[in-house]
């Protein structure tokens, strides 16, 4: 990574001076009149992830986890069958819940009800499909609509009545857990036999055919490359400062390599699970929403300075309600995936589900203070948590050790967030 930064640094001044000469000549304005190149801070790595320093410690943490477990397990950790286990369907649910949590965390709020909501929605789906014999789409649709309704309620209390989200969602978490017990009516486990629901994550066929498993990521990488190059060309044409061509190429190659490696690992075993495709698809969708639409920008603005956002004419209440609603809908999707994976819903909510979802987001670099972080954080966070659990179980350590380690890593991540934030503020003035 170090040499990328170096490479990116050197071409910058020449690029800027080109713009200068160009702009001074025929453009009605020139970037160099405003942007003083000598002032350009060393932020190439940050720019790579749209202004977020949080990724460096996260990547280092992930590297430490991977290297440590590879060494102590004698390489077993990196075997494809283990890696595909690691990124397989069982973490899909946590990743989708975590993705929802990110939307709320970006506002500087928290949603403690995601786990309850996800199980409750799965229970609603299971009851409709198994007990009432409703069509599959009705059952799944009802789960999603329930998620949306719960999110609306959470959002209403937080945004309109200004009750702290911590309390609203804590109360919700307890209440919805009770509601699902009530709905299950004493049944501890409700098996799901609906073949469509089971096929989402819980059957031996829940994998994309190779053509799609390889084709979709390839298409994604091509679209990404086209998008980045199009952006580069249109900026160049507009006389704006652009990233260096070296960096452009490095960026595309990096994404392509990541895609090839992940797909390669999965394909060498069973193929790409539907769940993985689903959560990567959702992450890409929300990445586009957060970075390319005004709705997304307003979420960051509300998280950064709600008062400034309000004065800029942003509907702060609407943004908050929307984020809570999307979070709960994602929780419902996560619940459906988990129910499918287990071919059943249980009255008992896995106590680590909530912790892991929020911890994955925070460990991945999303700030608890709001306004900072990317949805890609969830992949890093899930990989770190998944890696810890997986690695420790390879060493036949139980959940006791893995939860203690996870706690330490979480504390470390939040500390890094708080310290970085202070450092940035200090250098800022």
């Amino acid at each position: 990574m170090g040499d990328i930064i170096e490479q990116n640094q050197t071409p910058e001044p020449s690029e800027a001076s080109q713009v200068d000469a160009f702009g001074a000549g025929k453009e009605p304005f020139s970037a160099a009149a405003v942007e003083v190149p000598s002032y350009t801070p060393r932020q190439t790595f940050r720019q790579l992830f749209r202004g977020d320093l949080g990724f460096i410690p996260v990547i280092i943490t992930l590297a430490i986890v991977v290297i440590y477990f590879t060494i102590v397990t004698g390489g077993v950790f990196l075997y494809p069958e283990n890696l595909s286990n690691l990124v397989g369907p069982q973490i899909g649910s946590v990743a989708i819940l975590g993705l929802g949590s990110i939307l709320v965390l970006l506002l500087g709020e928290i949603d403690l009800s995601v786990a309850s909501v996800s199980v409750l929605c799965a229970v609603i789906m299971a009851i409709l499909s198994e007990r009432s014999g409703a069509p599959t789409w009705v059952a799944i649709g009802a789960a999603l609509v329930s998620g949306a309704l719960i999110g609306l309620i959470n959002g209403f209390f937080v945004a309109v009545l200004r009750v702290p989200s911590f309390i609203v969602t804590l109360a919700g978490s307890i209440g919805y857990a009770g509601l699902l017990l009530h709905l299950l009516n004493g049944q501890a486990t409700l098996p799901i036999r609906n073949p469509f629901i089971d096929a989402i994550a819980g059957s031996s066929q829940s994998f994309l055919p190779d053509s799609l498993g390889i084709g979709l990521p390839a298409l994604g990488v091509i679209l990404y490359a086209v998008g980045v190059i199009y952006g580069y060309v249109s900026r160049k044409r507009a006389g704006l400062r652009t990233i260096s061509t070296t960096r452009l190429i490095v960026q595309i190659v990096l994404v392509a390599v990541l895609a090839v490696v992940s797909v390669g690992v999965l394909e060498s075993e069973h193929g790409v699970p539907y769940t993985t495709a689903l959560f990567v698809g959702l992450i890409i969708l929300f990445w586009l929403i957060l970075t390319k639409t005004s709705f997304g920008r307003h979420i960051y603005a509300v998280g950064g300075n709600a008062e400034a956002a309000r004065r800029a004419g942003i509907n702060v209440v609407g943004i908050r309600i929307a984020a809570f609603t999307l979070c709960s809908v994602l929780a419902a999707i996560g619940g459906i995936v988990a129910a499918s994976y287990g071919n059943s819903v249980a009255s008992q909510i896995d106590p680590t589900l909530l912790l892991n979802a929020i911890a994955a987001a925070v460990i991945g670099g999303v700030s608890l203070f709001g306004g900072r972080g990317s949805v890609w954080a969830i992949i890093l966070g899930v990989l770190i948590i998944g890696g810890l659990i997986n690695g420790l179980s390879l060493l036949s350590q139980g959940t006791d050790i893995s939860e203690m380690v996870e706690g330490i890593v979480l504390l470390f991540a939040v500390t890094v967030d708080a310290v970085l934030r202070r450092l940035q503020a200090r250098t800022g003035r």
């Binding site: 350009t40 960051y300 300075n305 004065r311 800029a312 942003i314 306004g371 800022g428």
Partner: protein, 276 residues
Amino acid sequence: MADSITPSVGAVSSPTFRGRPILQMRGITKSFGAVRALGGVDFEVYAGEVVALVGDNGAGKSTLVKTIAGVGPADSGEIFVDGMAVKITSPQMANRLGIETVYQDLALCDNLDVVSNLFLGHEELTPWRSLSEVPMEKRTLEVLRTLDVKIPSIRSLVASLSGGQRQSIAVAKSLLRKAKVVLLDEPTAALGVAQTRQVLNLILRLRDQGLGVVVISHNLADVFEVADRVIVLRLGKRVATFDVKNTTSEQVVAAITGAEFGELMSSGGNGASEGR
């Protein structure tokens, strides 16, 4: 060029003040319960001039600015923008009339970059509803160049900018919205010497763009540097209007404190000792 103390409205003290004011207020009153914060204040700004609004604490400066900004609408009185009678009942209304306020806290999102902050709430979109960054960046460069602002990059986070640069971004926001009148609340408070210089330069640039600029400040040195006229409020009344070209700061201090001008001069021009 013009006469000394001119409490009259239509005083032509500089060539740019021709025609009717861009913003005019007549007989503005505002009470908070039994307290009369503004008792029939007249106020006017012309295009292309800087008006400093000064006064002691509790003189009614903030209250007056709030009535203009739409944050605390006036109880009674008339307001004209470009000669048209208007009612300003909300900040949005004020913005629509071309009145922008830069508050002391600047109202910037530290976690967003310069371009995002400038266009916050007014983003330009492509036909398929995604953010249209290239036109926004071009506009940003244009506006910042007009104001002669220098920053590392228009994509740097606002958190990484200096106090003066942040102030510039907040002001640029109003220029971008095609404001006719910009209100600046204590723009140089808490800034260092170089930063203050930068902001004063910015105010002059705004004036040169033909905007009416209203500056609220406690710092008379700054006021004398940029203002064309100084309007003094005391106890909710407009007590004096000065043309800075032929006014001394002692005169302004006297008007602010309500001390007799002669008394003040005889005490060696030290306004503070007589301040009552």
